[in-house]
Symmetry: C2
Subunit: 208 residues, 2 copies
Amino acid sequence: MSVRVVLVDDHPVVRAGLSALISGTDDLEVVGEARDLATARSIVAAVRPDVVLMDLDLGDGPGGAAVTAELRALDDPPRVLVLTTYATEADILRALDAGASGYLLKDAPAPELFAGIRATARGETVLAPAVAATLVRRAASPGPVVTEREVAVLELLAQGLGNREMAKELFVSEATVKSHLSHIYTKLGVDTRAGAVAAAIERRIIRR
Amino acid sequence: MSVRVVLVDDHPVVRAGLSALISGTDDLEVVGEARDLATARSIVAAVRPDVVLMDLDLGDGPGGAAVTAELRALDDPPRVLVLTTYATEADILRALDAGASGYLLKDAPAPELFAGIRATARGETVLAPAVAATLVRRAASPGPVVTEREVAVLELLAQGLGNREMAKELFVSEATVKSHLSHIYTKLGVDTRAGAVAAAIERRIIRR
DNA sequence: CCATCGGATAGCCGATCGGATGATGCCGGG
DNA sequence: CCCGGCATCATCCGATCGGCTATCCGATGG
């Protein structure tokens, strides 16, 4: 009784690699691959896998978190194990919030990955050490936590947008944007936009 | 007479994937794998491959560009084909400057990758379309290089300092700081301090 | 049931920024 | 020897920001 796995990743090389690796085991099998949301939805609905291996960065279109949420909303949904390269606080929280059962990094050795897939199939939660550390740090510290909306503002901020432009982008008023910014300054311990961008990148609240 | 390839990548999954893919061809073969500089050096010296497939983001330690430069400094060096996920201007320039023969992205389909490896072995230069576009854009315009002084301003900027504070820190007038900032905006293609910080970090002009 | 929190909104006002324009001095390459 | 790039400084002005104070609402949770 092998564990049936579907791969969702926009990189052909990675899909082929995972597929090859998993073929080498005798209790795991790849029953489908997808590179985007639409494909993932139909494949999963058709083959009903036990576990979906999900890359978070799917290039254009909806990200892995959104895809995860969609898959989890199906009847008798598959468990989703996130397998990605980066692990910012925001990425992790978005993914887990979307219903992912685990979060591994692509630098994990193959045996660890296999163990993670099996554990996920059994219903366990698997986290890469670095991810676990991030979650612990967050849980342990009464520290200021940037909210989802604030992260969105930070992302636009890093693109150099002005308050008016951010407001338009987020469908809110300038006043709201200013409000978010004020909170961000307080939480990050800065008092300028430039400082906020640097602090946010350093703390890996946003990436790039 | 098959092309002998060494893989350098810190992701086991990717190494295994590439290895599996390449095994499926009859004119390419993987003769070694490495996940860091030290291993890459000794493997390459020992097996003398035709082509090294190089990931630029090797996690901790020296990056792929540094490794590339080291390998190219060997006697009768292998050709190096960069295979990575992201392609910032800085990444590309560093890699090519380090002596890479080509630059492909990991979202390339397998046949394209194989063709790239063969072309590299023949001494040709292969570039992913997106990379080529970046280089053309860069070549078409005289490369804006930030000066020493401008870097200093960028560093203070990332700390959230205002013009007056930067001026004090650099022992110049506010007018001079503003002048530097204007030049920075032009060179980085932004028009705000926040955008400048993000662009500078992305292009690794300053480090977090 | 009421406190708290995230989010959205508003107005005010002084401080700061960003763009435009122009000028000076130094240095190195053609 | 002159030109261009770099660094320096100055002034003007409209646009934007950042801090402050306040209100409102829905969800969450003692």
